[in-house]
């Protein structure tokens, strides 16, 4: 609803008493003017009742001019120093590559990007190992909250920042966010975090880098210069696509699970895991080194490795079962523990 100003009659005067029709017209015009101003002011902020009620707005105007809320000074970065809900109501566009867009210093901060973009001035070309970005030594980041815990970022894009797209602390949640064309890691989160439907593309570092015990589901890491996904121990990767990254497709330090994921045409290893990691129902094809690399204590079930430059499976004693390994230039399987039902180059016997 637009704001409606109180309308008061102007004070009577002797002149107005002698010319009542003039006074009446003046009163009507004055009321019209007040109403028009109220409507105009109201139209800048009205809308139907929306999900942003109760959320603090962040937009280019407040960021540049006044600060957006308590604790935020004029100019970028927008500094969030209190927990709560925040929502973008415009794109944020930065021209200084040494400035962060949003800095988060508090825990329990929810930022709804609302379909908008946070865009820095860095421009990148190429894909995979050929990614090259401007302002390579600058320090600006899109969303910087390395010590902020239980943050949540949803529904938008972050791109063009020299020091990386998004960096958050432990137990972060990132949903339907694209981070691309940044001069360092696309998305970096701490232990216990979760990502869903994230897309990370053309970043100079890894597409996604996580701490321990994180969950990635239905995410895409494509064309990053480093690894597609680098996950800490005991991470779970489910339905993750890693393609045409310059480094490994996906890697987990140790423990955890890689399930129903694809690693294709990456510059190095397709899927690299450590001791205790379980890899199931995943494919590694056309990678520039081995298809799947594991260490003793890891286990593979139901995997496909085809057309990799190195071994299909390089396992150092890890077990494998129900895998299909075909046409890998370095050989089919190196040092694996065959638990049966495997196929290597069209035969039931594997090395």
């Amino acid at each position: 609803m637009p704001a409606v100003a109180c309308i008061t009659s102007p004070p009577a005067s002797s002149q107005q008493a002698r010319r009542p029709h003039v006074a009446e017209r003046a009163i009507r015009a004055h009321r019209l003017l007040v109403l028009a101003v109220a409507l105009l002011a109201g139209s800048a902020i009205v809308g139907p009742a929306s999900a942003s009620e109760g959320a603090r707005e962040i937009n280019q105007t407040c960021a540049s001019m006044n600060g957006c809320f308590t604790g935020d000074a004029t100019g970028f970065p927008v500094t969030i120093s209190a927990g709560g809900r925040y929502i973008l109501t415009s794109n944020l566009v930065l021209t200084d590559a040494n400035v962060d867009a949003i800095v988060v210093t508090a825990n329990d901060v929810d930022i709804d990007l609302n379909g908008f973009e946070i865009a820095g001035p860095v421009a990148c070309t190429g894909e995979g190992a050929a990614v090259s970005c401007t302002s390579s030594s600058a320090t600006g980041r899109g969303i910087a909250g390395p010590t902020a815990e239980t943050s949540k970022i949803t529904d938008g894009s972050v791109r063009g920042f020299a020091a990386g797209g998004i960096r958050l602390g432990a137990r972060a949640s990132i949903r339907r966010v694209t981070s691309e064309s940044n001069g360092a890691i696309g998305i970096e989160v701490g232990a216990g975090s979760s990502l869903a439907e994230a897309i990370s593309y053309q970043n100079v570092g890894a597409g996604v880098s996580t701490g321990a015990s994180t969950l990635l589901e239905r995410c895409i890491a494509f064309g990053n210069a480093g690894a597609g996904v680098t996950a800490g121990q005991d991470a779970t990767l489910s339905a993750v696509v890693a393609r045409e990254n310059g480094g490994d497709g996906v890697s987990i330090v140790s423990g955890g699970l890689v399930a129903e994921s694809t690693a294709s045409s990456n510059g190095q290893v397709g899927i690299r895991v450590g001791a205790g990691t379980h890899v199931r129902d995943s494919t590694a094809t056309g990678n520039g080194a081995d298809g799947i690399v594991a260490t003793a204590g890891a286990g593979l079930v139901g995997c496909v490795a085809r057309g990799n430059t190195g071994f299909g499976l390089a396992l150092a004693g890890a077990s494998y079962r129900r895998c299909t390994v075909t046409a890998n230039a370095g050989g089919s399987v190196d040092a694996g523990l065959d638990l049966g039902a495997n196929a290597c180059n069209g035969a039931t016997s594997c090395p």
Binding site: L33, S50, S52, R243, S261, T262
Partner: protein, 333 residues
């Protein structure tokens, strides 16, 4: 003087773009037809989006001529359909191979009017697009398609580039493929029924989960090199049920009643292209005619249940790694 001031203020008010709330720019039939909806958009369809940002429909859009409903040229456009329908004037009759669409429109419903690298990072969700002569929705790389119904369009229902995600959507009775996704994709919980050509055509290195392709005029679900398809159902398509290129994982799907009769053609419930290295595991395959699994020598199959009445038609080639049943009997070695 005061009247002029009031008039100027009111004119200024009228020229401000309507906001849907939260800074999101509105698109509706009235502004599309009469005034243009925001900077860069002129009166009349198509609504032209030239700046990145967040947009939302606040009414159905009805196009009665040969133009598109919405064209965009910027990357980073987020379009919320808000439950509304974007409709063109074309109509379709029939289904699958008999589908026929007519009408004056030859444009996309929602599409890009620029060239790469524009039109990337496009998101559309929450509505319906139907009745256009070209694609229902088209986008380039890293698009997000969520919770949309796309139907009765003259080319592909949905056509998007590399690295895109599509979820919870339906593409049906379009006069080309239902959905086309380029490399490195994810598609989950979506159905492609009654399209004149293939239901789903996806390229390399992606993941298909929980898809359904029913009654399409060509193959049901086609996946490219190194892809995974799991939990999906291909039924009653005129061509093969599921077709996969080398190095794929085809796991826990159902493929039934697909293909031409054996006397007319040579379709398979699951067909693997030459090159080998695909794993076919845990699928249920049934048909009254055609072939169960058509594999190459380097493909492996395990734990499948295959019911094809014609002797010798359950499995062609492939490496039997055990657990398979062909009409209740062991499958060929």
């Amino acid at each position: 003087m005061l009247i002029r001031t009031v008039a100027s203020l009111l004119l200024l008010l009228a020229s401000c773009p309507a906001m849907a709330g939260d800074g999101i720019l509105e698109i509706n039939q009235a502004c599309a037809v009469q005034t243009g909806c925001f900077a860069g958009d002129l009166p009349g369809f198509p609504v032209r989006i030239t700046s990145p940002g967040s947009y939302a429909l606040s009414s159905d859009l009805v196009v009665e001529s040969g133009v598109a409903a919405i064209l965009y040229s910027a990357s980073g456009v987020w379009l919320e359909l808000n439950g509304f329908t974007v409709s063109g004037p074309n109509t379709c009759t029939g289904s699958g191979e008999t589908l026929s669409c007519i009408g004056p429109n030859s444009s996309p419903g929602i599409g890009c009017f620029s060239s790469l690298p524009d039109c990337e990072r496009f998101t559309v969700q929450g509505g319906r697009v139907r009745g256009f002569g070209s694609q229902g929705i088209s986008a380039s790389a890293r698009a997000r398609i969520h919770d949309v119904v796309v139907e009765n369009n003259g080319l592909a229902g949905v056509s998007v580039g590399d690295g895109s995600i599509m979820t919870s959507s339906t593409s049906r009775r379009n006069a080309e493929a239902g959905v086309f996704l380029d490399d490195g994709y994810i598609i989950d919980r979506s159905s492609m029924d009654g399209n004149r050509l293939a239901g789903l055509l996806v390229f390399e290195g992606g993941i298909v989960l929980n898809a359904r392709a029913d009654g399409n005029g060509s193959s049901g679900l086609l996946i490219g090199d190194g892809s995974i398809i799991r939990g999906s159902n291909a039924h009653g398509n005129r061509g093969d049920g599921i077709t996969a290129e080398p190095g794929c994982l085809v796991r826990q799907n159902v493929a039934s009643a697909n293909g031409l009769p054996a006397s007319v053609g040579f379709s398979a419930q699951i067909r693997l292209d030459p090159g080998g290295g695909t794993s076919v595991d845990g699928n249920t395959v049934t048909a009254d005619s055609a072939v169960g699994l058509s594999l190459s020598a380097d493909d492996a199959y395990r734990d499948n249940a295959i019911t094809i009445p014609f002797p010798g038609s359950s499995v062609f080639f492939g490496l039997n790694l055990g657990g398979n049943a062909c009409g209740g009997a062991p499958c060929p070695p």
